[in-house]
């Protein structure tokens, strides 16, 4: 057992130097371990990592300087990001978390299957940790892989309370690697998060400096002609939506960090030529979705959300807020490589370097062009035959993609009417002889990335003033890399590539289905499920032991990472078969996806969008699992 001594580390350094180290260089050349030699952590700064079974974590506020302007960060043991916790599968860990803040605090172990009172959500799991108090978390670690932890209190995650968790498998790693590094991505802001939230409520497009201008209009006319440009502007104008709305908070407020280091500070990790290097990517951002690549290297994805997957080799992957991906790279050349994580809205990037020697760095690529949302992302059903009008709506990239439409596949078609008429449970995904097929996308030009299907119903609250868009035409499209990554010439990971090794945790067919629509109102900055904010909704009730299906329909034009606490989300392929096990499922605009959940975790759990300001604005539900919890045959 290694016990971390907080006081010793802190005493050696002045307070200022201490936090500066935490702000930037903390993980530099750190957090890696040489697995091959069997040595313990070879970190340059051992304060970055804690291991063993007993942990004392102290949440505090400290001055921090990320951008040149002094700010107060929320730290754990004086560190931002919080220290890496290294556990072993099978151990029972005890974490004594002391709150030295003036406000309540909490820590949630993201992706960990733990008893409800250990889950760390104030109001549901426990009462939070009062100022000055200590809460002792104790649970058995029955899983392995890459996870993370963060505060579940207000905006403390945004101000720095997030850190990595790496759990060694009991029987050794499935995929051997000589080096092992955590790459924790995050978004730092000098602006008080309360102010960001209030600003979004007052002017929701405040942080978008990429709206379409008169100049863009002129360019589009030159490229597409006047009539198509007008058709495009007419379409968006009628909807009163904005095709440039890719992120609510952008690089104008954020500095993107890699292991706490700004792009300039350049977090650096060492390798020797020919070694296999495991990179454990964690997106600990509050509001940022990253597109990650390492120019010159193929990325072999071996785990998603801590769960080993059949290895798949790609050039690039999108990592939504709260997701984790383990990637193995094999740098063959004796040179530096840039780890490049650009924000989905292309307003900034996090960057680090893999290098055989200190002091080297590689070229930092230019950010990709910023994409526009398309009618497909809006779930537009009307005028689909009139493809002429459509062309005007795409940027070049998306226009090409419309040409490559997949007329053949019919994913998810069989449950097209599951809402209109409560289908007998379990629903038969294999049965394609469903009446809905006749008028599903077949007769129309289907949208790209898998056929789309009409949405048969929306909830009453979705017709109210708190919801600004409803998708009429949705697609499952697990093979869609998402807006901004389509047809970019690189092999981009999609959910269709992910296959969890070992199959689902529960082979039963789901006994019922809960359909939830991801909804919101951009202009009013209201976010919700089924048009109802947390305060307006009743908890979802799961019956202990049941296997059920959650179907998410994203009616909004934003991408939402949806996180269910306490239970795995086992994503289904379009044919209903098991695809991948995740704790956070990213849902693209106008996407309809389903996952199975085994309600084997008694207690009250949080279920929410992991974009922090969406959650705070109401995109949150309580899930209650109890014996006989759900009314028989209940159909949400």
């Amino acid at each position: 057992m290694t016990k971390f001594d907080v006081s010793r580390g802190a005493a050696r350094l002045t307070r200022r130097a201490f936090t500066q180290a935490a702000a930037g260089g903390l993980f530099v050349l750190g957090a890696g371990r040489n697995v091959a030699s069997g040595a313990s952590a070879t970190t340059a700064d051992s304060r970055a990592e804690l291991s063993g079974t007993q942990f004392d974590l102290s949440i505090g506020a400290m001055p921090i300087n990320v951008t040149g302007a002094p700010r107060i960060g929320t730290v754990v043991n004086g560190q931002l990001p919080a220290p890496l916790l290294r556990w072993r599968e099978g151990d029972t860990v005890t974490l004594r978390v002391t709150n030295r803040l003036r406000s309540r605090s909490s820590i949630h172990w993201h992706g960990m299957i733990v008893p409800a009172d250990m889950d760390g959500v104030p109001g549901l799991s426990f009462e939070g940790i009062a100022p000055g108090a200590t809460y002792t978390y104790r649970f058995k670690v029955n899983q392995s892989g890459t996870y993370w932890y963060h505060s579940h209190s207000r905006f403390q995650e945004q101000t720095g309370l997030y850190g990595p968790i790496v759990i060694e498998p009991r029987d050794g790693p499935r995929f051997a690697a000589q080096r092992d590094y955590v790459v924790l991505l995050s978004d730092w802001t000098d602006i008080d998060p309360e102010r960001i939230f209030a600003t979004l409520k007052k002017q929701s497009d405040y942080f978008n400096f990429h709206k379409r201008t008169a100049g863009d209009f002129a360019d589009d006319v030159k490229r597409q002609g006047l009539s198509q440009t007008l058709a495009d502007r007419r379409m968006w104008g009628q909807m009163r939506m904005n095709p440039t709305d890719l992120a609510d908070v952008s690089g104008c407020a954020y500095t993107y960090l890699m292991n706490g280091a700004t792009p300039n500070k350049n977090w650096t990790a060492l390798f020797s030529r020919g070694e296999r290097v495991r990179l454990r990517f964690i997106n600990g951002s509050s509001m940022t979705i990253f597109d990650v690549r390492i120019p010159g290297l193929k990325l072999t994805v071996v785990a998603a959300d801590g769960q080993d997957v059949e290895p798949v080799t790609v050039d690039e992957f999108r990592i939504s807020a709260a997701e984790t991906y383990d990637v193995i790279v094999e740098p063959a050349d004796d040179r530096a490589y840039t780890i490049f994580a650009q924000s989905m809205d292309r307003t900034g990037y996090a960057r680090g370097t893999l290098t055989p020697r200190g002091g080297l760095q590689a070229e930092v690529p230019a950010m990709d062009p910023r994409a526009l949302l398309t009618m497909m992302d809006m779930g537009m059903a009307h005028d689909m035959q009139g493809m002429q009008g459509m062309e005007g709506m795409q940027d070049t990239q998306q226009t090409q993609e419309m040409a490559g439409m997949d007329h053949g596949s019919m994913p998810g078609m069989s449950d097209a009417t599951s809402q209109a008429t409560p289908a007998p449970a379990p629903m038969d995904h294999a049965n394609m002889n469903h009446p809905a097929m006749n008028h599903a996308a077949m007769g129309h030009a289907p949208a790209a990335r898998g056929s789309s299907q009409p949405v048969s119903s929306h909830r009453p609250a979705e017709y109210g003033p708190s919801v600004d868009s409803r998708a009429d035409q949705v697609r499952t499209g697990l093979d869609d890399p998402g807006v901004g990554l389509r047809d970019n010439g690189r092999r981009v990971l999609t959910y269709a590539d992910l296959h969890t090794i070992g199959g689902p945790i529960d082979a039963r067919e789901p006994g019922r289905e809960i359909e939830l629509h991801l909804t919101g109102h951009m202009e009013r900055f209201i976010w919700s499920f089924n048009g109802e904010k947390f305060s307006q909704a009743q908890p979802l009730r799961f019956s202990h032991g049941e296997r059920l299906r959650i179907t998410l329909v994203n009616d909004s034009m934003m991408t939402h990472p949806i996180h269910l606490h306490g239970m795995w989300s086992e994503l289904e392929a379009p044919d209903g078969s098991f695809q991948v096990r995740k704790h956070t499922v990213n849902v693209n605009p106008a996407q309809r996806i389903s996952y199975a959940v085994t309600a084997d975790a008694l207690g009250r759990w949080a279920y929410h969008c992991h974009l922090l300001y969406h959650m705070e604005a109401g995109m949150f539900r309580e899930v209650e699992v109890k014996h006989g919890g759900a009314p028989a045959g209940a159909h949400e």
Binding site: G123, G172, K201, Q203, G237, G503, W568, F578
Partner: protein
């Protein structure tokens, strides 16, 4: 998943494992399967969590959301001077403003709106206190009171209107008023933001007033009384702070025009203006 499917999945896993040694020449073979551990079916591997030892005590919803610090019903406050400007005219220069403040939640807000101008000799102002409630996707209903002060006697009205976003992003306010002695009025305002660049924004605005009854002491005639068409070019130094220049053309009509003439005011005037738009 059917038992057959599950069995075949396990078979596939085992098959891959068995195939791995045969692929030793393949440099990527080590990815294919665990050397140490065959793929354990997740079903047996997964351990459900123990039930919680400490159930949450009963508490009110307020207490719960208080602990969560996640209040999606919280209130916000905004103060905005849509325009705050100096206007130069042949007759007399004036200070002119159009400002509003609101406080409230997603569902209910209290709005205070004030618009007016002040010259050396007089102040004209319309002030409204309104309750605002969203009624449709893009529209809020607003109801309350309006109080006008000017050269003539002050007037008070009951107000009922809508405010929102019309297609093509036109911001629209349309309000009907009922005053004392059977007076009625309608007011409409529409504006648009044309982005020349991300920060340089051209804002055309149209306003008009209709009155149901003559009010000669306030130089108001029944019918369409006046229109104002203005154009402002602002530069958003920050979103919250945008100096601008512009021009406004005011036209009075019908009896209102007659009354203006009689009082030696302009019936039609063009004013240059410069000001600052700001909010917080």
């Amino acid at each position: 998943m059917s038992a057959t499917l599950r069995a075949s999945l396990i078979l596939v896993c085992l098959g891959v494992a068995a195939a791995a040694p045969a692929q030793e020449e393949n440099p990527h073979a080590h990815y294919m399967m665990a050397p140490t551990q065959p793929a354990a079916p997740s079903e047996t591997h997964h351990v459900p969590p123990d039930p919680p030892q400490h159930a949450m005590r009963d508490m009110s919803e307020e207490e719960m959301t208080g602990l969560m610090e996640m209040d999606d019903t919280s209130a916000f406050f905004m103060l905005q001077a849509n325009s705050f400007e100096w206007r130069s005219a042949d007759e007399q220069d004036s200070l002119s403003w159009d400002a509003q403040a609101w406080y409230g939640t997603d569902d209910n807000k209290l709005w205070l709106k004030t618009e007016g101008d002040r010259t050396d000799s007089a102040t004209d102002a319309r002030t409204e206190l309104l309750w605002d409630r969203p009624i449709a996707r893009w529209w809020s209903a607003q109801a309350g009171v309006r109080h006008d002060i000017g050269e003539g006697p002050a007037r008070t009205w009951a107000a009922l209107g809508v405010q929102g976003l019309a297609p093509y992003y036109f911001e629209v306010e349309a309000t009907a008023y009922v005053g004392e002695e059977g007076r009625t009025a309608l007011r409409f305002s529409g504006e648009y933001a044309l982005l020349l660049t991300q920060r340089l924004i051209l804002q055309p605005q149209l306003e008009f007033n209709v009155f149901g009854k003559n009010d000669p002491r306030n130089l108001i005639g029944a019918g369409l009384s006046d229109t104002e068409l203005s154009l402002r070019l602002r530069y958003e130094v920050r979103r919250e702070l945008a100096p601008y220049i512009g021009v406004a053309w005011t036209q009075r009509y019908g009896r209102t025009a007659d009354l203006a003439r009689a009082a030696a005011h302009d019936v039609s005037e063009v004013q240059w203006l410069a000001g600052v738009r700001w909010w917080f």
